[in-house]
Amino acid sequence: MEYLTLQNIGLVTGFMLMLIGLYGALTQKNILRIIVAFTIFDAGLNLVIVALSYIKGRVAPIIDQTTGVTNLSEKFVDPIPQALVLTSIVIGVGVTGVMLTFALRMFKTRHSLDINDFKQTKW
């Protein structure tokens, strides 16, 4: 039971999500589903980052009345991954957006969302 910490749960869930996402991205034929799979992958990834930086008994690195201003490094979880996650999420959203744009364009050109219909360039 000692492994069943919040951090480990977060890590395992994160990795599971990533694997699910990857699996989906590699097996689904519908482009939109693929994009969704990638967002799941991203979510898992972000979860892993957050979980990695989690330290038991500490709080989010936000300075407010409850934390005070002293000994912050002992009260907070590692703040950097938290910050990174934000950036990562932003980028993830950006990529998803671009992907969706592409999906739209692809649909317009071929009236199909099956990824197998977009193999003009090969070999």
Partner: protein, 1044 residues
Amino acid sequence: MVSPVHIVSIGLITAFLLGLGKKSQQQMLVFVLMIATAAMTMVSGSWLIGLMTGSLKPTDVFTAGFKPPFAINLRMTMDEAVLTTMVNVFGFLTVIYLFDVLKKAGKHLLSIIVVFLIGLNVVVMTRDLFNLFVFLEITSIATAGLVIIIQDSKSISAGFKFLMASSVISGILLIGIIFAYSYVGNLNIDFMTNLSMVKGGAVAVFLVMTAIILESKQFPANGWALDMYESAHPAIGSALSAVSAPAILFVVYKLMPMVPENWHPVIGLLGLITFAFSNFLATRQENIRRMLGYSSVAQGGLMLTVVAMSVYFGQSFWFIILGFLLTNFFAKAGLFWLNGIVNSDDQNKWGILRKRPVLFFLFGVFVVAMAGLPPFPTFFAKWEMIMQLAQGNGWGWIVLILLGSIFEIAFLFKWFGRVFHAVKDQPAEPVIPWFKEFPVMLFGAGILATSYYFIKYQQFDNLFVLIPLLIVAAFVVIDFLPAFIKNILLIAALTFYGYIIYPEIKGNIMQLVFMSVFLVGGILTLIPGFATKGTRAGFYPFAAMTIFGLIMLVNPGDNLTFFMGWEQMALGSYILILRGKKAERPAQQYMLFSAGGAYLMLAAFGMLPHFAGDTFFGNLSGLIPGAGVVFVLFALGFMLKTAAIGLHIWLPGAYSEAEDDATPLVSGVLINAGVLGLFWIVTSFGPQQLFGYDIFQLMGWIGAITAIGGNMLAIYEEDMKRLIAYSSVGAMGYIIFALSMDSKLGLLIALYYMVLHFIYKTMLFMSAAGVIYRTKTRNMYEMGGLIKSMPWSFIVVLIGIITLAGMPPLAGFAGKWMFYNAVVMKGWYLQGTMVFFSGIVAFLYLYKLIASVFLGQLKDNHRRVKEAPFVYLLPQFIFVIAIMVLSIFPQVLLEPLATIIPDRVPGEAILWDGRLAMTSFGYWNAFAVMTTVIVMFATIFLWLTYHSRKAQKVKQFNIVFAAERPFRPETTHVSYNMFAGYKKALGWLMTPLATQFWTGISDWSTAIADKVRSWYTGNGQTYAMHLLLYAFVLYLLISGGKIL
């Protein structure tokens, strides 16, 4: 000084400014973009100059006022300065190049370009891992945006595939980063050098490295990249290839300190595999952009290798990487841009470039530079890389590099040849806007300048390298002048060069002999050029290049000069051959075989220092284990040029399809380069063994078989030039055989025959050129009876064939006489008999040559044919005089030649007693023979003249003809299939085994390539899968199956 961070800030400001612009102001916005990119260039450029001159010191820029690891820092050292300058210059030129596209496109596209450039700049400069990740993502998104400048289904789907791939890659990268962070506690690269030492840290390093390597598009997980190259706008393709890839590779370089040393070779090898395989697959590409894509990927692989092995390469690293980097930068971008100008992926449409000499020239420059031929930087880089690898016994690596290089040459020159011969009647003069031409020209200038610096850096002997190259360059510049003037100038240049070089080599008879063969041969073979009208564009630079390449072989200060001369000569002659009307395929074959030979030599040069130190060709005395391999590699390389049997299939096509008056140069003169090389290795290596076999024995057999094979093939040829070409194969077999005897007499024969073969073969080819010039056909059975109209040519051919056949009293007999003595002394009776047999077989084709063309029945359409032009005859008669002198006084040549042969060589030499040549076996007095024959001839001739003084000349068909009369010359001239009986009897000897073998190899490689490239299914998911598989395999390779 402007802080490097302003590169980013300028970009950001511009991006915002562009956002403010209106649709109607698009053109102005483009200019704004142009100014912005120019400013970015200025900043990075000023850093580059400052760092180079030393006025500036490498700097770190700290953001947020903290020092790393607490804040992100951008670093600007020489490396970053170079790369950012490249990125920004490229950005500037891209904006110019895309002027028309950008004018029409929305303002968002302009922003995307800026973002793309910012992304790359930061990727290059940043020292922070996460920052790196962020900007890589930004670049990716921008790239995806750029890909869809062309909004067709192809590019959109390619962009989507790219996004999928980059999502996977970024996932891996991000996990790696976060793990790295959790182990080290910070994100700065400089503080992570011991990451792999930390328990579990190796995994983090592995993930980060894998992501970056995947990002650098390694084979075979790079389908997405290829699709993108194929479908994106050429300008974007060029951006991906010229700046994106180097930036990523720079990231690899930055990360290398983190990577454990034992991973380096694995990564390097993967890069090389990419290089070899991508080039291999490119050989099957018809679509230009995809081919360029493969080529870009291959270059990326090569550079990855160099970067991964940067520690190993040590001091040479910068030289090597810059060589590859700059060439790839200039040439690949140039080629992509040219693709945009031609606006077609069909090779045949590229004929449009023939209308623009400058662009076409640049196209050639780019192709040659890509192919790694001198004098371009890749050539030197490759040389250095191989030398370095050889020092560490990296033979497998060398093999991969050379394989990749030969494939590279295969597809690049197939393309070049196709373009060279593409139909010229394209619709009118193409309209090419200045802003498209300008960047190409600038980059062309860039690569030439880089080459200049690379050559300077090498510190060659100026007399032998720089002056020749400058002369070649000068002929490029004056290519617009009439052929007449250029001919005079080149002859003058060669003469003058001979004048200044003579004091240098006076003491060395060997150099003197070869130099005079090359120089005199060059000058004399140029003389027929006076008969050409017009400018003869593109001939003289390459004629000069060929001749000077040959000259560089004569006096190499070091191995590199020799190799450079060799490659240069190959390149020059390739173009000369390619100029022929139907020469596309033969020239391609020639190039491939030349390159193959050159690469074998390159490998040998790599091995040489292990045995003989760094000086040219060393001097091995006695048997050294392992030296046999070097010897064999060299010998193969040289025998490819001398067209030993099995390696000869390029020769007849190349020689016969070359322009008629260029053939003497590319054959009679050029083939001696191989002889020179063989002579050199034979004298400097001495007898060596390969797996316990005496190599000379082997070479002797090869020579004998070549002699028979060449001559046998010649007798069935109907094409005049092919016949003479095959005869060269035979003669080379003879020389190889003579060399392999490794006796004083044998080597003397080889040298003597080399000179003689040069004389008569050049003469024969020129004579053939004269005949073809007049009759407009090469088929001998379509000629006949030309002795009446071309008596002088007939005399030349007659002298030539008597010499070739080795009949007394002419000079050829000396060779035969020495040959018998040498064979008997050596005791190689069987091989000797074969060579002797080949010598008699030569009679058959010689007879066919002279009789079919000059004797027999004159055809109706040749009744008004005139004698060949004087400029054709002049050099021929100079050669005739040379033969005559040699016939009467062979000692004039033989005695000096004998001094070249080192004392080490066993066997007895010829003793001269006045005019009498003696060995322990026989004797021979050329002068006495000549006088006797002349006296006899004169007497009998007078006797006949006295008796037949009333002989009456009759018309053509006045012959005894079984009481009938012939009714047409076409059906009375026996020439076609003349030796059919011989073919029936001994035709099995000429079963085209070599051709079958090479065709087999070619078919086989095609089949494999087709099989391999079906890996790239075109499905984005498959590509993503490839990435994961690649990561997995890489993990196995690095960890050996254990947990890191």
